[in-house]
Amino acid sequence: MKHIDSNTHVRGESVYLDDIPLVSGTLYAAVFDSPVAHGKIKSLDTSEAAAMRGVAGIFTSKDIPGENQIGGIIPDEELLAGTHVHFCGMPIALVVADSEESARAAVKKIKAEFELLPIITDPREAKEKGELIIPPRTFQLGDTHAAWSQCEHIFEGRTETNGQEHLYIETQGAYAIPQENGAIRIYSSTQGPTAVQRTAARVLGLSMNQVEVDTTRLGGGFGGKEDQATTWGVLCALAAILVKKPVKYALSRIEDMRMTGKRHPYSADFKIGLNKQLKIVAYEATFYQNAGAAADLSPAVMERTLFHCTNSYYVPNVKATAYSCRTNLPPNTAFRGFGGPQGMFVIEAAIATAAEQLHIPASDIQEKNLIQSGDTFPYGQIAVSEANECWSKTNRLYGIKKLQQEITDFNNRNPLRKKGIALMPICFGISFTKTLMNQARSLVHVYTDGSVGISTGAVEMGQGVNTKMLQVAATIFSIPSEKIKVNTTNTYRIANTSPTAASAAADLNGKATEIACTIILQRLKQLAADDLKVPADSLTLKEECLYAHGEKTNWSWKKLVTAAYVNRISLSELAHYTPPDIHFDATKEKGHPFTYHVYGTAIVAVTVDCLRGIYEFDSVKVVHDFGSSMNKLIDIGQCEGGIVQGIGWMTMEELLYDQEGRLRSNALSTYKVPDIYSVPKEIIVQALETTKENAAIFRSKAVGEPPLMYGIGAYFALRNAVKAFNPTATIPFDAPMTPEKVLMSLYPVPALEEIKEEEKKP
């Protein structure tokens, strides 16, 4: 089934935040944000700006009726800076005016003076200075200390992974409209309508039932609108309440890139020990997460780094410690994978180090250590694994050794073009690691004409969650999809929602929808069963007809619905779902946090132009564990999109902050995401086709995040290609592997010294 929004998408008729028809009298907001990364606000002069034509108001922290606080996990982030600023781009004042231009022009007239304070941009420096968001956490399995003596080979190293800008093509934005009795409606481009609602209530001093948040769809989210959409929703609501007029703010791209947080950069140290048979005996890692200036979701992201520190491998002795380090960058936040990719990169680097030192392909080590069912993850959960199944199907379909041989042959033939290949197995846990967030509700109405309306807490952002909700209802009711509509995500219809995140929205909301539809169906069946004098469980619905013991009856879907209404039987249901058997004890760092895991294996192949240092990806060949996909078109699309986004993170997407904490890659001209020419020439995604039971909706496993991590293979494929040209290259593990880093690795240091000698000459 196609994405249910595809018709309006291709006709340009889908409605996004900036497309909502405006209520007359609507004002436009713009933010005056900090030009310095750390400082005390000495003075703030808004008088000239306030006197400008069209300006309706300028608001600062002093105007906030409730609490000046937007921190979700930890209350450590002000909406508008009061006395201090902690990052470049921190909102200080909000201007509202009768046009976007007037608002932005007024922002330029605001004057502020700062007493500059020391700036930290490096997480290790932050850790040294004790600037931690939360106390460090350690996951432990076995005893690494004792295990080192059993190791034949021990390797140590250090890695850096840079952050990643979400670059949803629709920027952040919100539109707030005051309602009667002091209530407010906020249209928000958010993955977390409840977060916007809760925070708006807190800041405005309202109760949550006075704040309606409505989201039709997002033009991309990728985690960037999970927590960070809140600021804009709340700012618009604040201004709307204060000026008593509707207020809209759709950020410009540069504002968005400057003021919002990104994927966390990480610095890490590793130590890995293997025995003679190449089994990983022990693994230690220390992660320094660059959290930015406030907690945001960093503690949860850090936790998932620890959960995924051994990726798809079983290691009997593990010790992994993570520090969430406070720096003067915008608070970093969720991004597809949520800390998992950063954890996986480090163990892949450790394996690559071992392989390089031992002069064997990394795949020899990877294959020998894949986690098997019954093995224990470092956090205590027992694996139900598909890791070996995915790997061996990958080998069966694509031939790992054959590909490796072809590449060796190619490299022998070509002096200036070198190919590299890397295997990338993945294992990703599905569930919010904060157990309480694993709950969802679905409200299903069947109308008297037989049409169905569904409301859930899930937010559609392109991933097709609404299509899956519709499929659930269409399957349970056995009615055509045209009879079903999925409504906007609205906090008045569905309360206390978890954000659409953690790849879990289809499962949680889908299961709730399944329950709601099943309950309604049961009522309808009972009604017919009483009439037909057969047991209700003998009845089935097929294509709008009711069958008893397989025999067609004279009851149609329409007749069932009408009869239920006439008999005063409810045609509506609000169902609640929470996955069973998940728990986690953070005091012991042990438990069973995930409903299930998603597995897969990718082979990534690249060709490097060793003259120019540029490269093209030849192919990404995957076997992915979909469970049993309920929508192949959508799920394959998630895989392809995730792979390319992962490759982007590992290759060309380079966030550059200067020493002053200013983002230098602050626009699409300086921050490059993959274009159509830079994606792999071939992406093949084959399904594992497993028959194992799983707890996903219709056995169709979550698919949002896991494929991104195949992209990590891109880094290691590039590294292998560079080594084929320059076997003695010492390449620091420092992603992304830009053309610059490739060229600098291809050509040995003496060449550069030669250049420096030349520079010294007058």
Binding site: Y16, L611, R612
Partner: protein, 468 residues
Amino acid sequence: MAADESPGMVLLDFIRYHQHLAGTKIGCREGDCGACTVLVGELIHDELQYHSVTSCLVPLGNAAGKHIVTIEGVNPVTGSGTASPGLTPVQKAMADAGATQCGFCTPGFVMSLTGFCLNDTEASKENAVAAIDGNICRCTGYKSIERAADKIVDLLKKRKNENILQFVTAQKILPEYFTGIKEKLQNLAAGKKTPALTDTAALDKRPHFVGGGTDLYVQKHDEMKEADIYFLFNQPGLDSIHKEGNKCFIGPSVTVSDLQQSPIIQEAFPSFNRYAKLVSSTPIRNMATIAGNFINASPIGDFTIFFLALDAQLILSDGKTKRTLPLRKLYKGYKTLDKTPGEHIEQIWFELPGKNTRFHFEKVSKRTHLDIASVNTAIFIKMNGDSIGRVGIAAGGVGPVPLYLQKTAAFLKGKNVTEQLIREAIKIMQTEITPISDARGTKEYKTLLLGQLIKAHFMELFPPLIFV
């Protein structure tokens, strides 16, 4: 339609916020994402031709007398507003292939692919992909979009000798009303008047000369809104490319796409399309002028480097007096020009490469396409028997201005090409450049890279020479 808005306002704002046509999206406002792509139809030699542009960089003045097509103008009327609206074959291919996820970039892709259907280029996958090279999608990874493009190519292959507009309307790629556009534009053109470039009264106001606006509107779209603008595209005759002897003359409103379509250029530079593919994207190339690239004075301007190697000459005019200036003397310092505020480029000319001449252009950027170069370079060599006669080497990204490498050229002159010679030349080159570390790379990288690209020049031009 007639509009009272300022001609300096961008077309995108006019479409979205004045005409309330919300299908054209805002992604970046700097021509780098393609979400705002629309088609522009105009009469060229009395033929109606369409090309794609990013409406965020188009001043309203450049839309005058043109047919501007947004997604709303492409949508079939049938079933509009219902649950199952009509789709054009392009839209259907996108929807069926799952080539739309969040949907925000989708109208831009639909417009670019529709523009491809209106082009006279060969119906091939390569050309279809080239048509969407300016559209960024963050969701799909492009593979489903490629599959949709395949479907469209299959459809276009059915076209035999029919007129394009007849074919696309018959196939319902575009609505029927497109067949009447030519006549409407002819009527509009009849009433159009633009002051000539010799109109001193118009020039005395010191207007901004705007060609495609692709740099100007990235940098200062706010201040351009109310600026006094002289629109070069509205002035006939400024887009000519012609030959006099072995000299090629280029008018000030000639775009990169114009060069690509010129038989003179194609003959002189057989690899021209390969070079152009490294420069921005299809919609930007449709707007960006060569003269604008020179005057923008970016030290990294791709076509500045290209023409610098050819030692191109500029004819500058202030409306009263003219002078000729070599392009290499235009740049006095970072973004400082040997040009008075009243002067504009009236013509560009250069000597066409002929027998015994060799030319090559190289560019490396973080992303190979649709990106600003880390380093770019071009070389022009006139051979004197087996040895190098005249040589021009230009390099961008390695100094405050586009560099014409005089010493390197002087060193090479009169010598036979050997590996050793080029290695020596690279050392001399390194004394001529002053790269800085910035978002496009460290100075060490740029220095190494330029050396590599010089090797690439000679490997391309003097096979089987190779540097390993």
